[in-house]
């Protein structure tokens, strides 16, 4: 019996070609984006979204064209942080227009697409949904990258959820690892979790552009940022106090 490669007529489904077309769509869309930075941490609750939103605003105030892709599909918070007005996304053959938040930061987020208070739920069989749900979320991430009219951006920030899964998906979708800005809090617990994430990012080939230490002072004590900086030979680009000012964020923006 002949095998797949011995049958010379093309595969009508062309699933691989369809996947490659999806990748080209993303690459074409991001051709006008000068740099893409994933804001990530192996630890939840360290303020990734907070840092992302304020960094984006500071970059925008400095004259940059900035966008945020809220890649935390199940716990999206960027629109609230950017005070993005609730308005329908204008959609045409050319793509979907992003929302515009404070300081003109462009944004796409599942929070803008879901019913108020509703979780992200997909149509489909509920049994064994773990089999396909991850792929569905990766497709949503791909469409956020490839189908939103980002236009020409100086910086596109990707606000990732805790953990590494979304980062790995991102590397696959982009075809190359994005630059990474890591966020930690000072505690040793956070350091240990962020270390794993940074190690994975380095192994994937990402450039670590810096480490942000958030929630500095008060209850959280430790030297997480300094420890990670020394271990990975990367700079601590900001130490964010509990009540940062616009100058705090501007200083961070100038270091990136």
């Amino acid at each position: 019996m002949r095998t797949y490669h011995e049958l010379t007529n093309p595969d009508r489904s062309g699933l691989l070609d369809q996947i490659l077309t999806q990748r080209r769509r993303v690459a074409d869309r991001l051709a006008g984006v000068r740099r893409t930075i994933a804001v990530m941490s192996g630890k939840g609750g360290v303020g990734k979204s907070y840092v992302t939103a304020h960094l984006a605003r500071a970059l925008a105030r400095a004259g940059q064209q900035v966008g945020i892709l809220d890649a935390d599909l199940n716990g999206p918070t960027i629109p609230r942080l950017l005070e993005t007005p609730r308005a329908a996304h204008r959609t045409s053959d050319d793509g979907v227009e992003p929302a515009i938040g404070l300081d003109g930061v462009k944004c796409i987020s599942m929070a803008l697409l879901l019913e108020d208070g509703a979780p992200l739920a997909f149509k489909g069989p509920s049994a064994e949904s773990f089999v396909w749900r991850g792929a569905m979320e990766a497709s949503a991430l791909r469409e956020f990258l490839g189908d939103v009219n980002w236009g020409n951006l100086d910086t596109l920030l990707l606000d990732l959820p805790p953990g590494m899964q979304r980062y790995i998906e991102l590397c696959d979708i982009l075809g190359k690892p994005p630059a990474v800005l890591t966020v930690t809090i000072p505690t040793p617990e956070s350091r240990d979790a962020v270390r794993r994430a940074m190690r994975a990012a380095v192994e994937q080939g990402s450039e670590i552009v810096g480490i942000v230490e958030n929630m500095v002072g008060r209850e959280f004590t430790g030297t997480a940022a300094d420890d990670l900086a020394k271990e990975f030979d990367r700079p601590v680009v900001a130490r964010i106090p509990w009540h940062p000012t616009a100058d705090t964020w501007s200083a961070l923006a100038t270091r990136l």
Partner: protein, 149 residues
């Protein structure tokens, strides 16, 4: 994927795709030599897995719509999340919608309705169809592999 008619040692040709609406999918393949037809049947989980990748068994014959997977597969989308604007204004060549087709379209959630309407309109226009009816919608849905629409 390819199908081989073992008796004839011939690659079978894709025939048609059916989406019965229960989450399953059927795609037929025919041997060009002996005429034997076989059907590939997928269960809902298998169908879903393919849909989740944003690909279509049998090939994609229309360009992907913006956020197509999100709009067709998210069950908790806001009704007013999108405002669909046509790049080409509806002209005299645009197909009319029968009242039954309009009623059926009206049952599609707002979250995805604008996109679905455009896909059917483009399908009709490309084939010179002057009126979109539920039968045309069924044909288009199966032909284009529009699971969930």
């Amino acid at each position: 994927m390819k199908f081989l008619c073992v008796d004839c040692d011939q690659q079978m040709a894709f025939g048609e795709r059916e989406l019965p609406g229960d989450g399953t999918l059927a795609a037929t393949f025919k041997c060009p030599t002996c005429g034997r037809v076989v059907a590939l049947l997928t269960n809902p989980m298998e169908t879903q897995l393919v849909s989740s990748l944003g690909v279509v068994i049998g090939g994609k014959t229309v360009p992907a719509q913006p956020l197509e997977t999100v709009r067709t597969m998210v069950a908790t989308g806001r009704d007013d999340a999108f405002e669909d604007t046509a790049r080409r204004p509806d002209g005299p060549t645009a197909a009319a919608w029968s009242s039954e087709a309009q009623e059926r379209l009206g049952r599609v959630p707002n979250f995805v309705r604008g996109m679905v309407k455009k896909i059917y309109a483009d399908y009709a226009k490309e084939r010179g169809i002057t009126e979109i009816t539920p039968a045309i919608m069924d044909t288009a849905r199966a032909e284009l592999g529009l699971e969930g629409m």
